[in-house]
Structure formats: structure tokens, C-alpha cells
Amino acid sequence: MERRRQALLLAFPTALALFVFFLVPMAYILLRTLFTNGTSDFTAFFTDPFYLDILWTTLRVSLLSTGISLLLGYPVAYFMARTRSRMKKVMMVIILFPFLVSAVVRSYGWMVILGTNGLLNQLLLALGLISRPLKILNTEAAVIIGMIHLLIPYMVLSLVGVLQSIDPNVEYAAYSLGATPAQTFAKVVFPLSLPGILSGCVLVFTMSMTSYVTPKLLGGSKFRMMATMVVQEINVNFDWSAASAVSYILLAVILAVQVVIVLLTSGYMKRMGGGKNG
């Protein structure tokens, strides 16, 4: 009992700060929204094709970015987990470096590369591969490129730990029993790395669903995702009811994903024998 009191005493300042500055405001505003406007804001959202289209765009961009980040990040993480050369450290630095640079700066870099007069168009024109500059900046493609750039480091860092914990001897055992590399990957490495894949994908998907800077800078003024829409409703349209509907729906989607993942992982852990680090 004494220990419990000590623990609570230690936790009290932080718990109080979160309660006052986070929990109370969130609950107060949600209740106020529900009591003053009822659910009309939310029904308005789900009956308006304009808003549904924004939700769909956000989901589509996030799913694509997550999928591509996984496809590109997995080989990198696997290579880093298995190599014993100095390359590992070099790659770690290259992955952490952009990770520590502001999203505004990184988006700016992509604007310089993908713009109408950008590096890519200058290059393609000089090589004679195109006769007129391609429009890449201010399209969904640019947003996805910028997003992947933002997400790959998170994906790789989530995967490396799990892949490192898979004993290489397990793979050798599969080979010695006659499995091809493809079989070894599909039946041994991939299933064992699923927890890392799952946690990486959830992290990255959540980040892209809620991202603001990348869609705003690379998507142009006509491209809208949920987070940019919230800011636009408030700062440009002055429509706070719409902003609150959009932001609560975004929050609901994020929480739903978390719940599904918790359920999925607990089922997976049970099947795998419930290892603590599963």
C-alpha cells in the first residue's frame, strides 16, 4: 500500500496537468458540440458528397502511402537487420537524418524537385524524354511522394527491431530443410515479422491520416485532406460546426484503427503462444 501511495504521488503532477489541459477541454468541447448542435453536423458531413470525397481522398492517400512505405521499407530494414558491415551505420544515419528535418523543409525540397520549372522537369526536358513540363506538383501524386518520404524512416525503424530479433539460424534451418528463399520468406521471416509490420503500418497510416503540412504544400489549394480541411474551415470559411464535424470524424477513424489493431494483435499473440515481445 505504501508503494502504491508513492507511485500515485509521483504520477500526480503529470496526471493533473493532462487532466486540466487535455482531458477536460476534449470532453467539454465534445459534449458542448453534441448538446448545442446535436448530431446535425455529423449527418451533414455524411450526406454531403464534398466531405465524403475528402474522407475518401484522405483514406486513399494514406493507404497508398502506407503500402508503398512498407514495400520500400521492408527490404531496407531486412538488409539493415542482417548486414554486419559498416553500411548499417551509414544507412541508420541516412534514415534518421531526414527524420529529424522539419516536414516544411522536406516538402519545400520536393517542391523544388517536382515543380513545373523543377529539377525533375529540367532533367527530363534536357534528356528529350518530354517536350512539355509534366504537372506533378499540386497533384495527389506529389502528396503521396512527399508522404512516403516522411513515413519510410518510421516504417524502417519499426521493422528493424523485429527483424533483428529473428534468429538467422531459423532461416538457415528452413534452407537446410530444402526451402527456397521465396518459401523461407513467405513461411518464416514474413510471419515472424508481422508484429513489426502491423505496428509500423498503424503508426504510418495514422501519421498520414492526420498529416497537415505535406498535403497543404504539395497538394496545392484544390487538394484537400481531413486535417487541411479543418484548418480551412476555421481560418478561411469561418465555419466552426463543419470544422468540429471533420475533426471528430478524423479522431473517430484514428481511434477505430487503434481498436481494430489491438483486437488483431491480441488474437495474433494468442495464436503465437502469447509471447511478451510477440
Partner: protein, 264 residues
């Protein structure tokens, strides 16, 4: 498929991803030395005039930098205390509901910052009279806390608590035990968490877009505002300085805690 070919393909793909990750940063650095307002490759000459432009008062970059540093350092400083206390409470003692408590401390992670910003905006509009810096600081204190808690917990999770008992039995006072045993051993987690928290605060845009007042504007917002008016290499120059700062941070982190701290 032959094993060596798979290995080789893996290597090439990894190399291409590295190029992809570095490309925008390298391009920015090269662009910052272009003498012309329109960025061309290769640059037609060499100039440092865009760097001089950063300090020109009309860009407000220095003012933004000072604001962002103030905000990030205060928020991180306060949260290191709150976060380490919270992590200690959860890891050091065994009690019912400790997992729930940990989830509570990390819960701001699951709320989109733009949604939380809007909630704060509505609260502020009802209370009124909260100065620009405090409006942002409250938001930052909340959203960066999980990073410090999580990273500290990840170290304390594998911490050998009998070391504390050993120190106590050798006559160390509780404060001595904390500062000479517990804190030094938890340092890598606390430092990594504090770094990530500071960077999150320094780069944060969604909260600042909704909550900042004309008197208190942070650097990322200044850069985005500048971008909308003029798209000249001054942006590349200020970006290059920020990239350089990140590089210094990486070296510092490698020296202090080792980069493996960031592997989940």
C-alpha cells in the same frame, strides 16, 4: 530464385531508397547557393545573398526562430520533469491499473493535433485574454509528453531495480539514489525522448496554424507564409541552416546515446 540475386535486388532497392531519402535535402543545399531567383540545375554561379536575406527583417525568420526555440525548450524542459516522474511511477511500482495509467499518459498521441488544436481554440475563445505564447505552450506541453514518457519507459522497462536497493543498503539517501543511480542509467531514454519531443514542438504546424496570434508566430509558419508570397532561394537558405542543425543533432545523439536508441 537464386539467393545471391535476391540479396543483390535487396541491396539495389535499399540504395535507391537511400537516394530517395537524401534527394530533397541535397537539392535544397545546392539550390541555396544559386545566384538567380529561379532555381536551375546546375546553378549558374555561386552566391550567398539568400543567406544574407534570412536576416532581413521583412522575412521575420529570426523572430520566428527565437519564438520556436523558446516554445520548444520550455515545453520540453517542463515535460522532461513531468514525463520522467510519470514513467518512474509506472515502471518502479507494481500496482493495479498501472497499464491504464501509462495509456493515459500516452493518450495525446492518439488525438490528431489538428483536432486538439481546434478544441483548444474553442476553449480559448470562451476564456479569452490568453497571450500568444501560452496558447501554443499549453498545446505543445500536451502533445509532446507521450514521446518523453514512452522513451523513458522503454529504458526503465528493462531497468534492474535491485541496483536502487543496493545503493540504499550502502547508505545512499533517496535523492542520491535517484541522481547517482536511476537517472544516469535512464539517461539514453530520457535524452532520446527529449530530442524527439523538442523536434516535434519545433516542427509543429497544425497547432500553430490555429492558435498563434500575429504577435507570436513560429518559424515553420513564417516559412510557409513566405512561401505563399515569394518562392525565391531564401527558402533554400533557411532550410539549409535547419538541415545543418539536424545533422549536428544526429552527431550529438550518436555521441550521447547511440543511434540504436531509435530502433523500436
Amino acid at each position: 530464385m537464386d539467393d545471391r540475386r535476391v540479396n543483390w535486388a535487396c541491396r539495389v532497392l535499399a540504395g535507391l531508397v537511400m537516394v530517395f531519402l537524401l534527394a530533397p535535402l541535397v537539392v535544397i543545399v545546392i539550390a541555396s547557393f544559386t545566384p538567380t531567383a529561379l532555381i536551375t540545375f546546375p546553378p549558374k554561379g555561386f552566391s550567398l545573398k539568400w543567406y544574407a536575406n534570412i536576416f532581413h527583417a521583412s522575412t521575420h525568420f529570426i523572430n520566428g526562430l527565437v519564438n520556436s526555440l523558446k516554445l520548444g525548450l520550455i515545453a520540453t524542459g517542463v515535460d522532461v520533469f513531468l514525463g520522467v516522474f510519470a514513467a518512474l511511477a509506472v515502471c518502479r511500482y507494481d500496482f493495479k491499473g498501472k497499464n491504464a495509467l501509462l495509456n493515459y499518459f500516452t493518450s495525446p498521441m492518439y488525438v490528431p493535433s489538428v483536432a486538439f488544436a481546434f478544441v483548444l481554440l474553442q476553449v480559448y475563445s470562451q476564456i479569452g485574454g490568453i497571450p500568444g505564447m501560452a496558447r501554443l505552450l499549453i498545446g505543445h506541453l500536451v502533445i509532446i509528453l507521450p514521446y518523453i514518457v514512452r522513451n523513458t519507459v522503454s529504458v526503465l522497462h528493462v531497468f534492474d531495480w535491485t541496483l536502487e536497493d543496493a545503493a540504499t543498503s550502502l547508505g545512499a539517501a533517496p535523492a542520491q539514489v535517484f541522481f547517482k543511480i536511476t537517472l544516469p542509467l535512464a539517461k539514453p531514454g530520457v535524452l532520446a525522448g527529449a530530442l524527439l519531443a523538442f523536434l516535434y514542438s519545433f516542427d509543429e504546424v497544425a497547432l500553430s496554424s490555429l492558435l498563434s496570434t500575429p504577435k507570436f508566430v513560429t518559424l515553420p509558419i513564417r516559412i510557409m507564409n513566405y512561401m505563399e508570397l515569394t518562392f525565391d532561394p531564401t527558402l533554400a537558405a533557411i532550410s539549409t541552416l535547419l538541415i545543418l542543425a539536424s545533422l549536428v543533432l544526429i552527431v550529438l545523439m550518436e555521441k550521447l546515446v547511440g543511434l540504436d536508441m531509435f530502433v523500436k
